[in-house]
Amino acid sequence: MLKILMSDIGRLFERLSSVGTLYLPIEGGGQTAFAPWRAGADVQLDRVNTDLSVKGLFFPQTEDIAFFKREGKKISVLPSSDPDEPFAVFGVRACDVRGLEVLDKVFLDDPAHMDTFYKGRRENGALIALACSSPAETCFCGAFGVDLAEPSGDVAAWIVDNTLYWEAKTQRGERLTEAVRPVMAEQSGTSAVDASKKAARDALAAAPLASLKDSLSAWGANDMLTLFSSPLWANLSMSCVGCGTCTYVCPTCQCYDVQDFDTGHGVTRFRCWDSCMYSDFTLMASGNPRKTQLERFRQRFMHKLVYFPEKYGGMFSCTGCGRCLSKCPVSMNIAKVIKAVGGVENG
């Protein structure tokens, strides 16, 4: 394990940015989001959680797929090249790392249908995960087996008493460690970090949503039709305003739309995040297969808590990051849905 004083953390960032673009939680406009580091940036490593997840660095909100160019009667298709620029992300929380593991299932699991854009970024992006020391009241990653104190990633880091501790977890992590070793000191023994880990786990166990785990047993691929037909969806969805906030701040929502943009001298085909909450989601010639907000609302939670585990060996596609809890305009969220349908009333 290596360590560095937080007062020297800028030196660590400098070393990391020599490997490729370094993204960090940076404050701007009263918000924290992953943005490229530059000297003097307002880096926020205390805040749980960033307002936007790390998802956008690997699966951007908008990305060009191909360009169509017409010359006379000839149309040439110019595909976008796969991303190959190395970058590193520092300060990713355990829930967001789990979010990427969920996206890996969707985009990389099937060799015949690999998403090459996502793959390019995953192969070139190093994750330096930061353990949480004090979870927010909206945090419930523990319900999904995420350990906030021991994040996976290429490197795991802990901040305890103004010192950052660093431990490589993968081969790529080892290579990064070599790059930063000149500015770090060796640390023998793990007692300082161990105490912090225990404190973080205790804090999560005492958080308001700690009992959510109990309601999860009703979910999963158990009884799809019963959950689908639950009469509770009507009341739960009643307040939903049909915006896309929950889907866009979510670290795992992966649906996208493909659209064409007429540039005036050609066509840019791009994909962009889509939301199952929208009335034009999966719109086709026969209309929208989910005509009411009830059906659209139900889809989001059935996907995360039933269809996804059914397809991927029981893995839920919620990570308990809590963003949708703090961002929903009307505070209707997955925690309330899990509890209501899981048979446990809200506190």
Partner: protein, 300 residues
Amino acid sequence: MQNVRELMIKKAGEMLSSGEVYGVLAWERGDFACDQTPALFTSPESLSRLAYDEFTAPMLSKYLINEAKKPNEGKKVMVFLKPCDTYNFGHLLSEHKVERDRVYAVGVACSGIFSREKTLLEKCLACKGMEFHHCDEVIGGEGKITWDKLDRFAGVEMIESMTPSERFEFWRGELSRCIRCNACRNVCPVCSCVKCVFDNPGSGVMSKSNADEFEENMFHIIRAFHVAGRCTDCGECSRVCPRNIPLHLLNRKFIKDVNALFGPYQAGASLDDASPLTSYSVNDPEPGYKDKAKGGERVA
């Protein structure tokens, strides 16, 4: 506020028991202090879950568009309205989005709304006043503004004092954070088109995301123009924005200009008055142009 909540539960229980209303639009408590959700209560027993305190944030008037249309044997729906939401209610009535005789409107006293971070919301700092409009009755009476009020138009004046390029940079910076979640539009009681042009694949301008970096700017500018003269300044757009964009400043600029050009006007306050931008009189000002014989002249 505890007392107001009890009075609300009592009234709602009476109205449900007597069968005068089929349901009551109110707020349901959640897991934390600040996560109350709008809900339709249909039985007196369920009312123990009704919440009302200084964290009760979402407005309920927009839900009336759907609720007041439901057949339910012609029965009314009861709704609780905060003072600022009564203007939204008035606006919806004036545009015939809601039928007045299908609603039993109850004003509820407000003492300002606090955020998750326990600070008073901007829209409350700039409170328009505690009086109620268009209500059948009021519970808890008119509240008092106990805090130092913010000048509603101070933010607009600050932007007006910028140079055009500073102003452009300010908005480009703020709007660059937009993720096109449509939360601002969807909570807005004035944004109540049956089919928004941005959701309509046939409109040619539909987009779920930003095809280029200027596009989300246009979305907000078009939306601001569409609600100009109709926006009640309830502040919901800024409250719900997950990216902390001060959208209310766009709307308040229009409100300030309408006030200056046509005289003080509050959308939703009256059901009778035609609004300045939807009515015509020969004396209407023509901002931007001086009365010249030909072509006019642009003025600042």
